[in-house]
């Protein structure tokens, strides 16, 4: 029996699985951090209350 097709299949599955996982995690992180930067860099709305400032402190 030729074992190489089994070896190649095992390596291909692991490389595809690990590579896909890394690409997916990286893309999700870039998207989420870009969204967070965009939201936090928005200018504060006029009339934002002191209570909102206090709640932000609490969330930290």
């Amino acid at each position: 029996m030729n074992h190489w097709p089994f070896v190649i299949a095992a390596y291909a599955i692991v490389l595809a699985g690990t590579g896909g996982l890394c690409v997916w995690a990286h893309a999700a992180m870039r998207r989420a951090e870009r969204r967070a930067d965009a939201v936090t860099s928005q200018p504060r709305q006029a009339g934002q209350s002191r209570q909102a400032d206090q709640s932000r402190q609490a969330e930290r």
Binding site: M1, H3, W4, F6, V7, A9, A10, Y11, I13, V14, L15, G17, T18, L21, C22, A25, H26, A28, M29, A32, E33, R35, A36, V39, T40, Q45, G47, Q48, S49, Q51, A52, S55, R56, E59
Partner: protein
């Protein structure tokens, strides 16, 4: 450990560590796999299929390490109420599930030429399959309890600790039961694998562990960024 449980301190460390872990892991994994494919001899009994060792062992190690990490994070969440512990537990679940699935797939591919069967319901294979289902259950439970506050997160943490019972079952299944899966080949003090075949294994294990670390850090950063957006939107809605 307590000092790093602060999201700001964590991010200050995670941001520079992530690319090093990712690219270091890619480099070590590829070098180790290439060495395993072309620089090691075939086994006298298993022939070339022994090379599946270099992808199967890291996948098995990380599948089990992932749940051990979930159990540790769950314990920290319940005992010390670390704000990052729940995030770490949830970040470990998807990569852990992927590596548990890769372990099952590569083990099955190895089994066909070695044992003459793709699957056997023996102790090691069945307990590993249970670990994969535990991961799926954990991911589903974490998703379902994402908006239910501390109470919902406690349920997820308890599931993480209870599921850890399966880890020693996987580890000692080849000792407790007469299984088709080979016995323990690599121990802390001795190994039954010849050095000419064994030497690339630490390289690939380290490489895949670094990739796993990079993925977990990226997942944690994603969750923290999502949390930041949600908090900001809540504040804006309140103002």
């Amino acid at each position: 450990m307590h000092a790093f449980a602060n999201p700001t301190k964590f991010l200050a460390i995670a941001r520079p560590v992530t690319p090093w872990a990712l690219w270091g892991g890619v480099l070590l994994s590829l070098v180790g796999l290439a060495c395993g494919l072309w620089l090691t001899p075939a086994d006298y009994l298993q022939k070339d299929s022994v090379r599946i060792l270099y992808v199967h062992v890291p996948a098995a190690w990380l599948g089990m390490a992932g749940w051990t990490g979930i159990a540790a994070a769950s314990l920290m969440q319940l005992v010390w109420r670390h704000p990052l512990a729940a995030v770490a537990g949830r970040a470990l679940a998807v990569p852990g599930a992927v590596f548990a699935a890769l372990c099952l797939a590569t083990g099955s591919i190895w089994g066909r030429p070695t044992w003459g069967t793709w699957w056997e319901w023996d102790g090691r294979l069945t307990s590993m399959l249970i670990l994969f289902f535990l991961y799926l259950g954990y991911i589903a439970l974490a998703q379902a309890n994402a908006d239910r506050g501390a109470g919902g997160q406690r349920v997820v943490a308890i599931f993480g600790i209870v599921g850890a019972v399966n880890i020693p079952v996987i580890r000692y299944s080849v000792v407790w039961w007469n299984t088709l899966h080979q016995g323990q080949s690599i121990g802390l003090t001795r190994t039954t694998i010849d050095a000419s075949i064994l030497w690339p294994l630490p390289i690939v294990v380290l490489g895949f562990t670094m990739l796993f670390t990079a993925v977990v850090l990226m997942r944690m950063r994603t969750m923290l960024a999502d949390g930041k957006v949600e908090a900001r939107l809540r504040r804006m809605a309140r103002a």
